[in-house]
């Protein structure tokens, strides 16, 4: 496993231009609470190549999830530029950013974040509702995704009828069903026992190896990080050497 430390941008141009799927340049993020500015990320420079499986480690409050949110396009940097899949996403309008997320990003959360009133099938189908696919095409895609995570027989089950590991696999099926460019996983094994955690990590590895998915995973767990090609460490909002 490679250890990548604070890595400056070596060349100009777009992220796609130099083979990097993700490129962050001098990214800062500050939150405001009661007039007080709290810096979370300070001058992040990072590049991730297409097809890479990168683990992002660091103590609680170091800004891992914030960094993931910026790359996933669900938050905007206070300063600096975030290029993902050839797009400077900080400049996109809200609607364009939504469409961009739907096209390029698959999210996997620690607490699965499935919609409790929808079945596994309906949860997985959600991203496809934003596409122009027909009902049959959506059914085929959902079937494939559920099959890939080994839950074809649980399609009609609601999240409350599934175990934690199964819920996370449904969440992974939802993340991959629209064939996104990048998977971002925020502590995907954080709420699972060792056995289920290992299964989820194996599944992520398969997605990376067999389907070529670029994966960015935040984790506290060194064992989980070992599954990645590259690990980067974040401390107090700064990528550490």
């Amino acid at each position: 496993m490679n250890e990548r430390k604070s890595e400056g941008v070596s060349a100009g141009g777009t992220a796609a231009g130099n083979g990097a799927l993700i490129r962050l340049r001098n990214v800062h993020k500050k939150y405001k609470r009661d007039q007080i500015e709290i810096p979370v990320l300070a001058g992040i420079d990072l590049e991730v190549k297409e097809g890479e499986f990168l683990a992002l480690m660091g103590p609680s409050g170091s800004g891992k999830s914030t960094l993931l949110n910026l790359i996933g396009g669900i938050d905007r940097p206070t300063e600096g530029e975030v290029w993902v899949a050839g797009e400077s996403i900080g400049r996109l309008s809200s609607d364009k950013l939504s469409a961009w997320r739907a096209r390029h990003i698959g999210f996997i959360f620690q607490l699965y974040n499935l919609i409790p009133v929808l079945t596994a099938y309906q949860n997985v189908e959600l991203p496809l509702l934003l596409t122009r696919l027909s009902g049959k095409e959506r059914r085929d895609r959902v079937g494939l995704a559920l099959n890939l995570v080994g839950l074809s027989d649980r399609a009609r089950h609601f999240p409350r009828q599934l175990s934690g590991g199964e819920e996370q696999r449904v969440a992974i099926a939802r993340a991959i069903v629209a064939d996104p460019t990048l998977l971002v996983a925020d502590e995907p094994t954080g709420d699972l026992d060792a056995k289920n955690a290992a299964e989820i990590l194996t599944l992520l590895q398969r997605l990376n190896r067999e389907m070529g998915k670029t994966i960015l995973m935040v984790t506290h767990d060194p064992h989980a990080a070992e599954r990645a090609h590259v690990t980067v460490h974040l401390e107090k909002g700064v990528l550490k050497a």
């Binding site: 961009w100 309906q122 959600l126």
Partner: protein, 382 residues
């Protein structure tokens, strides 16, 4: 349509809450339709009025009759083409609760003055040829299960005694607003049967005029003719007469409008609160949808659609039940509202109101959902 299952799933999240919200809207709109139907039914007489018919009554009150002797002079007034007359009978059938419109009319002129009363020719001939004969509206005949040839004893209150009328015809109304809950019988029969001192007086004269534009002039001529007599007249169009009749009950329309609006407004506030609570409970889920790429506009539409569906379901239920009930229910408010019938416009108005309720109750939660910041919403959960 592909989002319908998502919307319905959210609505069925708390079946009890959705049921109660739909029910409260349904009850509010049922009451609204009921109150509005009272208003429109009271106005049915006005809608059924003919602009070329004038009503002549005693200037002091309807209670005081006019001499039959006026008939010939009224017929000579320029502009008048036909004169009819009659008496409000004010009786009941078997029980004082069975109160409906009863008129003793001048049979010779009645069908010329009221062409909207449709009666088959043989039945008309039978009615005209028998002094104790009567005709009844189809709705009334169905209500009491009468058949032609039945004796229908009417107990008089203004004209005491039991009047053994024989049903010789069943009329239908040419317009939906005309009253089918009525019976008509011979004025001559009543006149001959009452004490001599009360004979040869009529309650109302009806005048047919050539055109509506002559109404004011003819009315003025009639009232001028009897201005200084012992029994002066008040002449007005049938529409004005009906409106005056309703106004005797006070400003019913205003009262009912205020009541109906207050009910709908109160329920709308409750619905807004419920929809706000429902949306607030789902902050994380809305954030998840936005994370997956659902745009602000789409989220707004989805949340607003939930309110619209709840309100429309309540509207359809409330207005539908009202429509169904008032078609079947035989309600006349003791004869005060003989033609109690819910108009299709009332049904549509109720549904439009439901749509407005849906829009207003869904607006605030929909805008809040659309403006939700994903990262902030997810951070609160983590």
């Amino acid at each position: 349509m592909k989002f319908l299952s998502l919307i319905l799933a959210h609505l069925l999240r708390s079946k009890r809450r959705t049921f109660l919200t739909v029910s409260s809207i349904a009850i509010a709109l049922f009451l609204f339709c009921t109150l509005r139907t009272v208003m429109t039914s009271l106005d049915a007489g006005i809608r059924a009025s003919d602009e070329t018919r004038l009503v002549v009554r005693h200037a002091a009150s309807l209670v005081f009759p006019l001499p039959l002797a006026y008939r010939d002079r009224l017929a000579q007034i320029p502009g008048v083409t036909r004169v009819g007359y009659g008496n409000w009978f004010g009786g009941y059938y078997q029980d004082p609760k069975n109160n409906f419109t009863q008129f003793a009319v001048d049979v010779g002129s009645f069908f010329d003055l009221y062409p909207e009363v449709l009666l088959p020719a043989p039945e008309r001939a039978a009615f005209e040829g028998e002094r104790t004969a009567c005709i009844a509206g189809k709705a009334l005949v169905q209500k009491y299960g009468w058949k032609i040839g039945d004796q229908i004893p009417i107990t008089g209150t203004i004209f005491p005694g039991t009047w053994p009328l024989v049903l010789r015809g069943v009329f239908t109304a040419a317009t939906p607003d005309a009253d089918e809950n009525a019976i008509f019988f011979h004025w001559d029969f009543v006149n001959e049967s009452i004490p001599e001192g009360r004979r040869d007086f009529v309650g109302i004269y009806w005048l047919k005029i050539a055109s509506a534009s002559q109404a004011a002039a003819v009315s003025a001529r009639v009232d001028a003719l009897y201005e200084n007599s012992a029994r002066p007249t008040k002449t007005e169009t049938e529409k004005a007469f009906q409106a005056g009749f309703i106004s005797m009950m006070g400003n019913v329309s205003l009262l009912l409008t205020i009541l109906g609006s207050a009910i709908v407004f109160a329920i709308m506030l409750v619905t807004i609160n419920t929809m706000m609570m429902a949306a607030r409970e789902r902050t994380t889920e809305i954030a998840i949808l936005k994370t997956l790429g659902f745009s602000d506009g789409l989220v707004l539409q989805l949340v607003a659609a939930e309110s619209m569906i709840v309100s429309l379901a309540g509207g359809l239920l409330g207005c539908g039940v009202a429509m169904f009930l008032f078609r079947r229910l035989d309600f006349t408010a003791g004869g005060m509202i003989p033609n109690f019938r819910m108009l299709p416009e009332t049904f549509l108005f109720g549904l439009a109101l439901a749509l407005v309720m849906g829009l207003l109750s869904g607006a605030a939660p929909a805008f809040l959902a659309a403006r939700l910041q994903i990262a902030g919403a997810l951070r609160k959960v983590a």
